[in-house]
């Protein structure tokens, strides 16, 4: 079955009345759990999984995929409105999204996030449909050395995350790496820095940490202000992006989509890394990098697009190889299995109704979510009209529910509280939390792939230059590190006119 016929067939499956209803329910629920921090798509899908036992496989998978997509759309809402990242992938959106909201442009930020998500999600699907097979073969080529090189590249983006001192940003990233090393050693399963506490055996989780550093710290910083900076003293300007904003965000969406598209295929921390990369690239190519962190629309458009493109393309390894590249898709993989369907190379021939039905329903889901989310924007913006004295306690409640619901663990509330206080102190000492989150996310991947590579090569670093993909990524790394220096030298050597 070629792509077009397949898609038409898929649409006929997806348009069946009960499948349409399930898709709608999935999108709605996904939006709800996406907006709530903490309880992300993983939680929602696993809670609903037993309820889908009675459904036919295609309908069940369609609904669960709808939840995933819906959650990806809703993920940025709290980042923008109240600086609470619901998941690691929307931590970057806090930087400029929240800054925009403080300037009364929450509507614009939410709008560009939704449009960016729609465009990127759809492009990702086209990629999944047309070149999924070859791409998944490429993804398999990524072994430990290749990952190591890509992650090293990710670290160079610290340079672009820093708004103030570069040295301090590097220190933050390194601290993030150290924090991420708490827990079991990924190779030898020894305990490291756990002090005998069983809650630390698997390390700190990123969501409570990010919620604390961003959301709770922001509440602490604002609580103490004598004349509280009114979030909404500023009038809410236009709800949707206007033409000039569109023009500024246009290429950001395209670049974000491309980055997310490729990073999504890679098993491992693809989507999260893609948001940091997309943000870094935007700041790199921007003519006004100084505006980033103070409400640059590109700083919202790029990571949100990357996030959604990655969400779409992460289905590629699942559907074509039977390999779920992230935790959400691992749960979805379980759902496939429960319904007696094995995702993998045989899916398209054995269960065409599921393969094409799911793809078609994801196209439709994107449209439904666009229609669903746009009218919600004016509603979300109203949240900012709530007086501070009510809003701040509510944000605290939100933070602690979010931290708790990741693993149903009171310990995580403690982690969130600790990092809330850390974030408050960082603010006092002029440090920024974003590089710390980057270090925290990449640290374990960096370590495990470095050590696996060294195990494979028996201690020789030659393994990183012998393999073409790794070599190219390393060269890009070197260029990315050297480029800012060259520019700095050029600037200083140029006579001041």
């Amino acid at each position: 079955m070629d792509a077009l016929n397949g898609l038409l067939y898929g649409l006929s499956v997806a348009f069946e009345f009960h499948n349409l209803g399930l898709l709608l329910a999935g999108c709605l629920l996904g939006t709800l759990v996406g907006v709530l921090p903490g309880l992300g798509p993983v939680g929602a899908i696993s809670i609903l999984l037993p309820l889908t036992f009675q459904l036919p496989p295609a309908g069940a998978i369609i609904m669960l995929a709808g939840i995933y997509n819906g959650a990806m759309y809703g993920g940025s809402t709290t980042s923008i409105l109240i600086n609470v990242p619901g998941e690691a992938a929307s931590a970057v959106t806090c930087l400029d999204g929240y800054a925009m909201a403080r300037k009364g442009r929450a509507g614009t930020a939410l709008g560009i996030a939704v449009f960016g998500s729609f465009i990127a999600g759809t492009v990702g699907l086209i990629g999944l449909q047309l070149i999924g097979g070859p791409l998944s073969v490429l993804a398999l080529k990524f072994g430990p050395p290749e990952y190591f090189a890509i992650i090293l590249m990710g670290f160079t983006f610290i340079v672009y995350l820093a708004q103030g001192s570069m040295i301090k940003a590097v220190l933050m990233a390194l601290a993030g790496i150290l924090l991420s090393l708490i827990g079991l050693d990924p190779i030898t399963s020894e305990q490291r820095f756990t002090f005998g506490n069983i809650h630390l055996f698997e390390g700190l989780s990123v969501v409570p940490l990010a919620i604390g550093l961003f959301g709770l710290a922001e509440v602490f910083v604002n609580l103490e202000k004598t004349a509280p900076a009114r979030v909404l003293q500023v009038k809410i300007k236009n709800m949707f992006p206007n033409k000039s904003q569109w023009l500024r965000a246009r290429w950001a969406i395209v670049r974000g989509t491309v980055i997310g598209f490729f990073m999504g295929i890679l098993p491992g921390g693809g989507p999260v890394l893609s948001t940091f990369m997309a943000y870094g690239v935007e700041k790199r190519v921007s003519k006004h990098p100084e505006k980033f962190g103070h409400g640059a629309i590109e700083g919202v458009a790029a990571p949100e697009s990357a996030n959604n493109a990655a969400a779409s393309t992460s289905f590629i390894p699942l559907m074509t190889l039977g390999i779920p590249p992230n935790v959400v898709l691992a749960v979805l993989f379980g759902a496939f299995m429960i319904h007696g369907v094995t995702p993998g190379p045989l899916l398209m021939t054995q269960h065409p109704e599921i393969f094409w039905g799911v793809i078609a329903s994801m196209y439709m889901g994107n449209v439904i979510l666009l229609i669903l989310n746009l009218p919600l924007i004016p509603l979300w913006v109203q949240v900012l009209r709530i007086p501070d004295k009510i809003l701040y306690p509510l944000i605290v409640l939100f933070c602690l529910l979010g931290a708790y619901s990741v693993h149903n663990s009171v310990f995580d509330i403690g982690v969130m509280l600790l990092f809330g206080m850390v974030g408050y102190l960082l603010n006092k000492f002029d440090f920024e939390p974003a590089p710390l989150v980057l270090g925290f996310v990449l640290g374990p991947l960096f370590e495990v792939n470095l050590r696996r590579s060294l195990l494979m090569s028996q201690g020789s670093f030659a393994i990183f230059v012998e393999r073409p993909i790794a070599l190219v990524a390393l060269i890009v790394c070197v260029i990315l590190i050297i480029l800012p220096f060259i520019q700095a030298i050029r600037k200083t050597s140029r006579p001041i006119s």
């Binding site: 939680g43 037993p50 072994g143 379980g334 299995m337 094995t342 195990l455 028996q458």
Partner: protein
């Protein structure tokens, strides 16, 4: 104003009391008079979670009360077991756990319970399909081919497992030590990552859990041997490691446990219910779909299983240098 606030405080207190009455219910009713919670120490969607959900669903039909799964991931599965002990031993909270948490993790880490004596086992109900696989385009057709090649090329073959000290790692160690092979171990986090590495050609062979089944079915990988006492129903032609002369079998059985000080009458009821639930055909079908093998251990059989494998694992962990002595005392 003062009167008003007093009124509201009083109203709040009354409301809380009412809610508590509704929730707790009468204490004299026959067990079970409300829903039962089964803690799972792993994230949703994994084989432990899915198999526990399937069994819970089957059990609630017999019990007449909902059996809810509550995921408490953390501490490689030990957080949920510790959480079980912090609950009242009234039979309304149970925990689903792999035997490996009791006998393997407890030796590697100091855990806040005694693996042999803190719990009573309601049922040991299923085990994963373990096996040794190569890529389907690899030249080795049997395990003998593979070991013969490895013997001729020491330090050349790389293999992936689900982690250092895991059952899969121990299985390959057993082969390597018996045939005196020099292999390079590349540990991964879980079976899916290890399978990805195998399919990408980054390692030559892998020891995997149930995730191998779909890959073998779709022709991406070839199964050389299964790691279990008996041959698999799915692969009657594939030999077990024991048949090939390696004294090693699976030590990972998934079980439902209760706190040791549970009321014997309640325990008896639970044992009966879960034994019957494990025979349900719909449940067995679900197990097959998620590539798990049904087994049955009652409390006593599971206890001797634990004691037997504690010693075997202890020996292999010390031999591989992972530990010097068991981190937790078993009783």
């Amino acid at each position: 104003m003062k009167n008003h606030s007093r009124f509201f405080v009083a109203a709040g207190v009354i409301m809380l009391v009412v809610i508590s009455l509704i929730c707790s219910g009468p204490a004299w009713a026959e067990y079970p008079d409300r829903s039962i919670t089964v803690l799972v120490g792993f994230v949703p969607g994994g084989s432990m979670d899915l198999s526990a959900r399937a069994l819970a669903k089957s059990a609630e039909k017999i019990l007449g009360q909902p059996v809810m799964i509550e995921n408490k991931p953390g501490g490689t599965g030990t957080v949920a077991l510790a959480a079980l002990l912090s609950q009242k031993p009234d039979g309304y909270t149970l925990c689903a756990t792999p035997s490996s948490v009791l006998i393997r993790v407890s030796q590697q880490q100091k855990v806040p319970f005694k693996p042999f004596t803190s719990f009573k086992t309601v049922i040991g109900f299923t085990e994963p399909q373990l096996g040794l696989v190569v890529k389907s385009d690899a030249p080795w057709k049997t395990l003998k081919d593979l070991t013969a090649y490895a013997a001729k090329n020491p330090g050349k073959l790389k293999y992936a497992t689900t982690g250092v000290g895991s059952t899969t790692h121990a299985a390959v160690e057993e082969i390597a030590s018996k045939d005196k092979l020099q292999l390079i171990h590349v540990p991964y986090k879980g079976s899916m990552e290890a399978l990805t590495a195998l399919l990408g050609g980054h390692v030559e062979f892998a020891a995997l859990t149930s995730e191998l089944v779909p890959a073998v079915k779709s022709g991406q990988a070839r199964l050389l041997a299964v790691i279990s006492e008996k041959r698999s129903v799915k692969y009657p032609d594939v030999p077990t490691m024991k048949e090939l002369g390696y004294d090693f079998a699976n030590d990972a059985v998934f079980a439902i446990v209760a706190p040791a000080d549970i009321d014997p009458a309640v325990m008896k009821k639970l044992e009966g219910v879960f034994a019957a639930a494990a025979k349900n055909s719909e449940y067995l079908e679900t197990l097959d779909r998620i590539n798990m093998i049904p087994v049955y251990y009652d409390g006593r059989a599971f206890d001797s299983f634990l004691r037997k494998h504690w010693k075997i694992i202890n020996k292999s962990l010390i031999a591989s240098g992972a530990i010097k002595e068991a981190a937790t005392k078993p009783e």
